[in-house]
Symmetry: C2
Subunit: 310 residues, 2 copies
């Protein structure tokens, strides 16, 4: 397997890489627990080589392999900072950061994240999934919602990210379910869709009451034997319902595409349905690869163009 | 120091005890990290003796010393379960749980907590502080707010707790400030009253927008160099403001007494002031001791009454 180029999604907690062919189709995939938050700046190249080395072969005599990276590898204090591009702007900015490497087989570029000044917000990695959506649907005008640890809502129009907003819903859910007093009464896994939707409807209709509902999941177990699986679905529903209520200015009257893993995207889709909204779901990995491929194609175009003006 | 009786506040994470004189004034105080959550059921008596042993002397020839305990020592799975009393009811129920001890110098009783079926809620320990408030002000008609890890709001009337509601605000603040992505940008201590009040006003006026504001504390540090001390006060203000908004049915138009440590009670007092409410502050330890003293006096009255009807 000798790839045409290599796509890398380098998150905080792990790294995923794909060997891409000349038509930007993934031919092989690998992953490693060497997330950006686990590495000192000097350790990134070795971690990358450990993951993708088998795909590089001995290229010393030919051109280096393009490696296009999105995500936290470009954060300040990580490998090489790829400064944020400020919205409104296209999600795949013109100038990814070129990274010098000791290994001559590598031509690494890290894509920048996006920032917004007021309200202050940032994203790193999700902009590439948004770029993938726009690569597939260049005329899309609406909202991308990317559920995850820090869910992002982005207003897209005319090929640009106009504005965006982040919610800590996924992280707060995890903290409450595993670190708080609720850990005793919220199941570590399992799901109940009806309980989720009932709680999401409550969170959506009365988000200001959600803080009054959380301790009740513990108390419900003590005084009314609330089932732990129901408690888990209910906690998720309350938090996601409240998030969707807060994000109303984003989705109201708009075309919404959810970009995420199937389970969490399905949960958001169900909750948005309670508000009368029929959101589409796009696969997160497919969008990441489409965004990285678009960035790679733009680099190739610029290289050819530079070659024409020596 | 030979106390007339001993008062114990046995929380999840530590134990506090006071040697009380015949007029129920504290004459000595001790504390230990042997909280109820750190002990197996069989370890409570030894932990108690380790803390209060020096006050017991050699009483084998005289009557045992009354030890009145409130808090998590009475939870299911702790020392001896003191089942919840269901509201509406007085905060100091008639029958504390008598605990059998191997040491004949001890006459231990654990005060029950309170429960509410709908909405499901529970408290253990705070009911004794409420009993202390009512012992001091028997005709109090209004609301007690007890800020802490799990803040309680209780509607009191005619000597009873009519209803109550718990908020996980303190625990959520601690989790976000120390375990979430915000830990990088929220100072571990320090305070800014103006930033707190501005954020509390925002949380109070637009509680449904608070989920949209939390990640901004991290982003604000990245794109606008938000000061960590301001971020800390702002996080507290957003969460407390949202809690006070949710608790509006409790405090609106009512007399409110805050029972808590000075710093957190002062923060709540400031935030309630934004809503035009002038809350009083009562010292938490004084209320605990007044509640335990009232329970001890009631036991003494019953003992004398039983003696009169042999």
């Amino acid at each position: 397997m000798t790839p045409d180029w290599i796509a890398v999604d380098w998150g905080s907690s792990n790294l995923r890489a794909w060997a891409m062919d000349a038509d930007s189709r993934p031919r092989a995939e690998t992953s490693a627990p060497t997330g950006a938050s686990t590495l000192a700046p000097g350790a990134f190249e070795a971690a990358l080589l450990a993951a993708i080395g088998p795909w590089l072969g001995d290229r010393k005599s030919t051109r280096p392999t393009d490696v296009i990276v999105c995500g936290m590898a470009g954060a300040r204090g990580a490998w090489v900072e790829a400064p944020y591009a400020a919205v409104p702007c296209p999600p795949s900015p013109a100038s990814p950061a070129r990274v010098a490497t000791a290994d001559p087989r590598l031509a690494v570029r890290i894509l920048p994240g996006l920032s917004q000044l007021d309200p202050a917000d940032v994203m790193r990695g999700e902009e590439t999934q948004i770029a993938g959506l726009l690569a597939r649907e260049p005329r899309f005008d609406g909202v991308a919602c990317l559920p995850g640890t820090h869910t992002k809502w982005a207003h897209l129009s005319a090929g640009e990210v106009v504005s965006f907003a982040s919610y800590m819903t996924g992280e707060i859910f995890a903290l409450l379910a595993t670190q708080s007093v609720l850990r005793r009464t919220v199941a570590p896994d399992g799901w109940d869709e009806a309980a989720f939707l009932a709680a999401a409807e409550e969170g959506l209709a009365r988000p200001e009451r959600v803080p009054a509902r959380l301790f009740g999941l513990r108390a419900g177990a003590l005084v009314a034997s609330l089932d732990p699986t129901l408690a888990r679905a209910r906690l998720s529903g309350l938090l996601i319902g409240a998030e969707i209520a807060a994000a109303r200015p984003y989705w109201l009257g708009r075309d919404v595409v959810l970009i995420g893993a199937p389970a969490i995207a399905g949960a958001y889709r169900g909750a948005l349905g309670l508000a009368g909204l029929d959101a589409r779901v796009a696969d997160a990995t497919a969008m990441t690869l489409a965004g990285l491929a678009a960035a790679h194609a733009a680099i190739a175009v610029r290289a050819a163009s530079n070659g024409a003006h020596p």
